[in-house]
């Protein structure tokens, strides 16, 4: 894809991120961090594609990426849910 298009998307996403994250109250900052750990596990998409790349070395590097990213995705979303469950109002 055209590099300018990619940069456009990147910059706009940073602005969106800035808007929505500023509205997260301090009380939820830890779940926000673990949740964003899970979201940065989006590298899993890159990992899945990397596994299909040419060459044995590339395949195994892709596998290593897949393991790391899956830990982030699975662990990140589960632990965030575990924390958010504890926030109760009496």
């Amino acid at each position: 894809m055209d590099i300018i298009n990619l940069i456009t998307i990147f910059i706009l996403a940073v602005f969106v991120g800035n808007e929505i994250i500023n509205k997260v109250p301090p009380t939820l900052h830890t779940p926000l961090m673990s949740g964003s750990n899970a979201i940065s596990g989006i590298a899993i998409v890159g990992a899945l594609l990397a596994i299909t790349m040419d060459g044995e070395l590339s395949t195994y590097l892709g596998l290593a990426a897949l393991i790391c990213a899956t830990v982030n995705v699975v662990g990140g979303f589960l632990v965030t849910d575990r924390m958010l469950k504890m926030f109760k109002k009496k």
Partner: protein, 457 residues
């Protein structure tokens, strides 16, 4: 008619919407859980979009990777204690960086025709995040000294590494060195730079570092997105990057430090003298019985928890004390300083775990006006964040740091194990104030005694 790529990009868009709306729902504890669920659905859509792209997948290998990763993820998520959350986030930041770095190297070794510079940058950011995060983890876990590790010429070395990287990347432009040599050297230098940038940072500044590395892990994912020309990675990566930067900024403000000062300042390398002499301070040591009597006469009580409370695992009994006081018709609130825990929002999670209702947890701006008509401020394991010297003593290392104005309360009850100074290495003048009384002892033992006394009164 839409082709395969269009459908795939549309699915990535849906996934990005899932992340954005998911984070949006984190703006309130009531909707937060559904937000997290929505974000996880977004991730599922992104994975499905990738797997249905028609590429030639080795399903066995994918099952292996996802299997190992899922088991590790499930075990970590189920086992980690709430006090260990900073360590876990540090590990996850590192894995995020590693994943991006591995993807970029995989792309490189496959002989891809992607931009060489973007490949190098992607590996650089990923590797730096990885090594930095694991040093941060080691410091938090106590494998590595929590003190700032410094030596002469440290910053010169970091600067040298950084300039070498730029020089190497420009060398590529003029084909001065073989591509492989540049790629390997940059990877190794990034590994060293990650360590070099993290070891000089002291334990008290860890919340800033974890937030910053969180941001890096997002930027690493975004860089991989540029490499693969993939919108999903760019959007999610920049959301995480923005989130980490915002939290970094909040933590810096909470300590009245600039980011540059945290990274290069090396505060806490040696215990600073500051105002550490206790001469002239009139310390009044009270028993729990006397403290219970003061609380009995109070109507409005604000509890100020510090990390010491969580270390002593005393947050549950603190909540019991608060519940008992509430049952007696008193108003009880909790004052949470931005840097009360070891990472942003850490103290809130620790108190939520102890079943404290989230509407009682007040942040700095909300709670400070409340101290004016407060009868008792009960300080449990907090120190620097309640030191009034931050407001007026220009010679104090913590001068200018926003603090909880506990000294405005009628009485301040401070529980501490000893008179040892806090993280910043400064003695707290609050302890000698006329309206301050000290109750020495382990937080858990003290609160258990206090609970008994209050119930008996």
């Amino acid at each position: 008619m839409m082709n395969q790529t269009d459908i795939q990009n549309l699915l990535y868009l849906i996934s990005a919407i899932g992340f954005i709306v998911g984070i949006k729902r984190l703006s309130h504890p009531k909707t937060a859980r559904s937000g997290n669920f929505l974000a996880s659905l977004g991730m599922l859509v992104a994975i499905i979009a990738t797997l249905t792209s028609g590429a030639n997948f080795d399903w066995q290998l994918i099952a292996l990777g996802v299997g190992i990763g899922s088991i590790l993820g499930i075990v970590i998520a189920a086992r980690v204690e709430m006090t260990q959350m900073p360590q876990m986030v540090a590990i996850f930041n590192g894995l995020g960086g590693a994943a991006s770095g591995f993807v970029a190297s995989s792309e490189y070794f496959s002989g891809s025709d992607s931009s060489y510079i973007i490949m190098c940058l992607s590996v650089l950011i990923g590797t730096l995040t990885f090594s930095g995060s694991f040093i941060a983890f080691g410091k938090l876990q106590g494998f590595i000294s929590g003190r700032a590790i410094t030596f002469t010429g440290q910053q010169a070395i970091n600067a040298l590494i950084f300039t070498s990287m730029i020089a190497l990347l420009s060398a590529h432009n003029f084909s001065l060195l073989p591509n492989d040599t540049i790629f390997y050297t940059i990877t190794v230098l990034a590994l060293i730079l990650g360590i070099g940038l993290t070891i000089p940072i002291g334990g008290a500044d860890m919340p800033v570092v974890i937030s910053l590395l969180n941001s890096y892990s997002g930027i690493a994912a975004a860089a991989t997105g540029f490499l693969l020309g993939n919108n999903a990675l760019i959007i999610s990566g920049s959301l995480v990057g923005a989130s980490g930067l915002i939290l970094t900024n909040i933590m810096c403000k909470g300590m009245n430090r600039s980011l540059a000062n945290v990274i290069f300042g090396a505060v806490g390398a040696t215990p600073t003298g500051g105002d550490s002499d206790q001469k002239g301070m009139n310390i009044k040591s009270y028993s729990t019985t006397e403290a219970a009597m003061i609380l009995d006469a109070a109507e409005k009580i604000i509890i100020v928890p510090g990390y010491g409370l969580a270390v002593a695992q005393a947050q549950h009994v603190a909540r019991e004390v608060a519940d008992t006081l509430e049952a007696q018709g008193k108003k009880v609130l909790y004052a949470i300083h931005p840097v009360a825990g070891r990472m942003p929002g850490h103290m809130n999670v620790l108190l939520a775990e102890a079943n404290v209702s989230y509407d009682l947890l007040k942040d700095l701006d909300e709670i400070n006006p409340e101290f004016e008509d407060c009868d008792v401020a009960l300080i449990l394991g907090a120190n620097d964040v309640v030191n009034p010297a931050a407001r007026h003593d220009k010679s104090s290392p913590i001068y200018g740091m926003p603090i909880l104005n506990v000294d405005k309360s009628r009485t301040v009850i401070i529980n501490k194990r000893s008179m040892n100074p806090g993280f910043a290495g400064v003695q707290n003048e609050l302890f000698g104030y006329d309206n301050s009384i000290m109750v020495f002892g382990d937080a858990k033992d003290m609160l258990n005694d206090l609970l008994k006394e209050i119930k008996e009164l």
